[in-house]
Symmetry: C2
Subunit: 318 residues, 2 copies
C-alpha cells in the first residue's frame, strides 16, 4: 500500500459521504447508527476473494466493487426485501495501490446508488490477497419475506432473464482473441451481474411462494429450494433460457448468473408477473417447469422423456 | 478442505441452531430475517486475517472464532449499544479441515452466547488464507448512541481495565520458554479479548459524552476521539493502567486491548461509574486525564512536565 491506513480511510470516507437522511451516524465512528423502518430486518453477507472469485488482471477494481455489492443485493432481493444499508470489510494486499482501492469503492458506490443503498461503514485490513466482504441490511414488511421453503406441488417454476452467461463469460474472460459482441455480453454477465431487486418485488406482489437467487447454478439452487420446501421439481430443458455464448450445460450447472428462481401459484400469476417484468425492467420471465410432490428433480427433454437432474453446480471446495 | 461445501454448511448450520425467538428466518436461506426492537440500529463489521491478525500455529480455532466476534462486540459496545445479530463471511484455505472450522464456529458461538447475540447467517468461500469477517447489528434507544464526537473541554478521561497487555501477549506468544503466570495473562489478553458490553452500558448511564474502544492503541484512538470532538486532551502517564507483562510504551501505543476509552462530565460521574463497574464486573475504571479546548494531545509525567503525545499506534499498512 502506497499510503498510510489513516490517509486511505480518510479518502474512502470522502467517496462514501452520500448517506441518506435515515443515517444518524455514518462512516468514521466505531459503528454506524441508522433509524430503521417499520419492517422486519433482512441480513446477509457475501465475500469476493481474489483468485477464487476474481483476478485483478482480468477484472477492473470498479467491476469488483460493483459485483461485491450486487451479489449481496441479489440475496436481499431473493427474500423479496428492499436493501437499505451496506458495510464492507476489506482485506488489501501489498500489491494494490490507493488509486485501485478508490476505484473499488467507486464501483461499490455505483451499485449502492442504483438501489438507494447507503454504504455506512467498514473496515480495512491487510492480507496476502484482496477480499471484499460486504454485509447488507434490508427491510421487508412483517411476515412477507419469501423464503426457499414455501413451494407447493403444482406451483409453476419461473426464472428471470437468462442462465449460463456468467459461466460462459468466466470461460471467455481469459481468451486471447478479441471477443465477439455476444462473448462480450457474456463477460459482462460475469463481471457485472445485475441484482434483480425490482423484479423480486414484482414476483412477491404476484404471490411467489418460494424464491432463491441462482448463484451456484440452476440445478443446485433448485435442489436447495426443493429441499427447503420438501417438494420435487421437473425442468423442461427446451424452455431453459440460455444466456449469451453459453451452452445448455452452463445454463443448468454454471454459477453466478444472479437471476431469480421462483415458484408462482398459477398461470395467471406467471402471466401477470411476466407482463410487468417485461414492461418495467425489459427482463423476460420464463416458465421452465413445475413443482411436484414426488421428491427429487427430473429434466424433461423436447420429446417428453424424463431423466434425473443431478443437483450439480458450483462447490467452492470441489 | 476435506469435505464438500454442502456438507460443511450443513455441519455449520447444526452448530448455529440456537437463534432466539426474534429470529424469523435463520441460517440456511438467502438471508436471515429478524424482528427488530424499537431502537435505532447500530451496524459494524471487522475482520481477522490470517498472518495479519492471527497465526494458526499459535492461536486455536476456538480463540480465533471468539475474537472475531469479540472485536465487533467491542465496536457495538463503544456506541453504548446492545448487540443483537451477527453474520460471518468466512474465507477458508485448503490447509484447514472441517474439524478446525467447527471449532472456529464453536468459538464464535461462545462469544455470541455470552451476550445473547444470534449468529443468523454467513457465507463460506475459498482463498489462500483464512479470513473471518463478522458483521454485527446492535440496537440503541433513539438518540442515545455515544459517538466519538461529544467530548467537551473539562470532561474527565477514563479507561476500563488495563492497557498494553494484548501487545505484550502478541510479543510473548512466539516465545520459546514456557510463559510465567503474568505472561500467560498477557497472551490471553491477546488471543481472547473481552468486549466491554456491560461496562459500556454503565458508562452510558452515567453520562459518557464520548466513547471509543481502544483497538489501535491509546494514543491513536484518543487522537481519533479528540479529532471527532474538536478538542485536545492531556494524559497523566503515571495514571495509565498498565496490563500484565506490558511496558508503558505498550500501554500507550499497543493495539487490541479492546478496553473502553470514554469521557465523563464530572468527578461524581466518574466515581459512580467506577463503583458500579467494580461491583458488577470486577473491572476498574481509571481516570487517566482530561479533555481541554486546546487542540493536540499532551502527556504529563509524574513531575508535572508536559510533552506532546504523538498519535502513534497500529497502522495496518505501516
Amino acid at each position: 500500500m502506497d499510503v498510510s491506513e489513516r490517509a486511505l480511510l480518510a479518502a474512502i470516507a470522502r467517496v462514501l459521504s452520500g448517506a441518506g437522511p435515515d443515517v444518524v451516524v455514518g462512516v468514521g465512528d466505531d459503528a454506524a447508527v441508522v433509524a430503521p423502518g417499520s419492517g422486519e430486518l433482512v441480513l446477509t453477507t457475501d465475500a469476493l476473494v481474489e483468485g477464487s472469485h476474481f483476478s485483478r488482471s482480468t477484472a477492473s477494481a470498479r467491476d469488483i466493487g460493483y459485483k461485491a455489492v450486487a451479489v449481496n443485493l441479489s440475496d436481499i432481493a431473493a427474500m423479496g426485501a428492499s436493501p437499505r444499508y451496506a458495510l464492507c470489510a476489506l482485506t488489501l494486499s501489498d500489491a494494490v495501490e490507493a488509486a485501485w482501492v478508490m476505484e473499488l469503492f467507486g464501483g461499490m458506490r455505483e451499485a449502492c446508488d442504483e438501489h438507494a443503498l447507503s454504504l455506512v461503514g467498514g473496515n480495512v485490513a491487510r492480507g496476502s490477497e484482496v477480499t471484499v466482504a460486504v454485509a447488507v441490511t434490508g427491510e421487508v414488511a412483517p411476515g412477507r419475506a419469501i423464503t426457499r421453503a414455501g413451494a407447493r406441488a403444482g406451483d409453476r417454476l419461473v426464472v428471470t432473464g437468462t442462465l449460463g452467461g456468467a459461466a460462459a463469460g468466466l470461460r471467455l474472460s481469459t481468451g486471447r482473441t478479441p471477443p465477439t459482441d455476444e462473448e462480450r455480453a457474456a463477460i459482462m454477465r460475469h463481471v457485472r451481474p445485475t441484482a434483480r431487486v425490482g423484479e423480486a418485488g414484482v414476483l412477491a406482489r404476484f404471490g411467489a411462494t418460494a424464491m432463491i437467487d441462482v448463484s451456484d447454478g440452476l440445478a443446485l439452487d433448485l435442489s436447495r429450494l426443493c429441499a427447503s420446501s420438501g417438494v420435487g421439481a421437473q425442468v423442461w430443458l427446451a424452455a431453459v433460457p440460455i444466456g449469451p455464448a453459453a451452452s445448455l450445460d452452463e445454463a443448468i450447472g454454471g454459477g453466478e448468473d444472479y437471476e431469480l428462481l421462483a415458484t408462482l401459484p398459477d398461470e395467471a400469476a406467471v402471466a401477470a408477473a411476466r407482463g410487468e417484468l417485461a414492461e418495467s425492467f425489459g427482463v423476460p420471465l420464463i416458465e421452465i417447469g413445475s413443482i411436484r410432490e414426488q421428491l427429487g428433480m427430473v429434466a424433461v427433454d423436447a420429446t417428453g422423456d424424463e431423466a434425473p437432474l443431478a443437483p450439480a453446480g458450483w462447490d467452492h471446495f470441489a
